[in-house]
Point group: C2
Chain length 241, copies 2
Amino acid sequence: MQRYFTDEKLSIGEIFKASADDTHHMKNVMRFRPGDAFHMVDGSRDTFLCEITSAGETVECRPLELVEEAPELPVDLTVYCPLLKGEKFDWMIQKATELGAHAFSIYDADRSIVKLDEKKRRKRIERYMKIIREASEQSRRQHIPEIGFVPAVKELSLDAFDHVLFAYEGNASNPAASLNETLQALSGGDRIAFIFGPEGGFSEAETEALSSHNSIRLGPRILRAETAPLYALSAISATFE
Amino acid sequence: MQRYFTDEKLSIGEIFKASADDTHHMKNVMRFRPGDAFHMVDGSRDTFLCEITSAGETVECRPLELVEEAPELPVDLTVYCPLLKGEKFDWMIQKATELGAHAFSIYDADRSIVKLDEKKRRKRIERYMKIIREASEQSRRQHIPEIGFVPAVKELSLDAFDHVLFAYEGNASNPAASLNETLQALSGGDRIAFIFGPEGGFSEAETEALSSHNSIRLGPRILRAETAPLYALSAISATFE
């Protein structure tokens, strides 16, 4: 079933107009006609089965019934990750969206290979939001993850999170816990910041800045930067869902 | 530490010659000189710290000590997956190798989009083995997964496996179990065949052919074909490692 998102609050029986983007998609991609059905997730993250009532210049739709579903992870996990080379970041956010990430924060890593000026960053966010939106629709999410640029590790504001974890093999003063152990300490609704390093790993200064947080080992193999967030999200889903 | 693989059995102190491919890599990519060190996994899946003893026309090396490591998943999981469009199959096998897959079997799905003749299949296997080998080195595996083409679902020989699972939301006659529940029934050393569908999902005939096996639900979101194997492998690693 095709899925769209709106910020509006929908009510059963109350006709609403599709947005310009959705109108284009409904008419030119899906070739919807009156009576055709789709799912629309509204501003309260409720999913409605809707039907097209008219498909002229504007497309009008009627919510028919509420759809019972629970596609969101029971914890809100924000993926902190620097930009990665080539298409790796694109597909990491696509896959992490499928796997239930709540948000993405792109931080400035000491060993980041990719650096962008303000103008390029704005263009990137537009492109990333398109990838995330499509992945949210395809995987049938009720929440579209947000994405934005944040400062370097030592300047991050992490006080709003219940848990701050970082993917690192650990050292003598901060031995890494297994992810499985760590997951046992999480409760539904918890907000988690999970910080992943760039291709070259965290710098010593970053490891030092993160030393008050929990370093987490993601299995005995060396995962590429773009694979680590997918491992963490999959493990969380398999444990809680 | 750079890692290579050999089928030979190595012994501490006994000098051996690097293969033609490794010689090229050691001399022209790594620019190794006598005294430089690397890891070599031998035919018994033991990892040795080795040093270069001479780097002339042929490169000679000496195993110095055995490296204690356990980078393999405690269960052998073979990923059954049809070919996928574009680069999706390439990166699935790269990531699944990082995540510990034991082997890959490419089956002929009813809804497979990609079909190849015998000659193209041989070329593909060569290319896939290169991806798998590089991912095995990079992720520090001791085992290089094998990959090959196998027949359609209803003709698969699965008797050698301890568990046959398939990723499917289930139906009334064969309701899907959660992966987590299923993992509790696994023991170290078990051989698992995990069958994943193509982009369009299993056909009815395939679901029928698989009905005597365990259908497994991979969380409440709809994962793309190339994401599902990574979810399963990550969950197994997080549970057992």
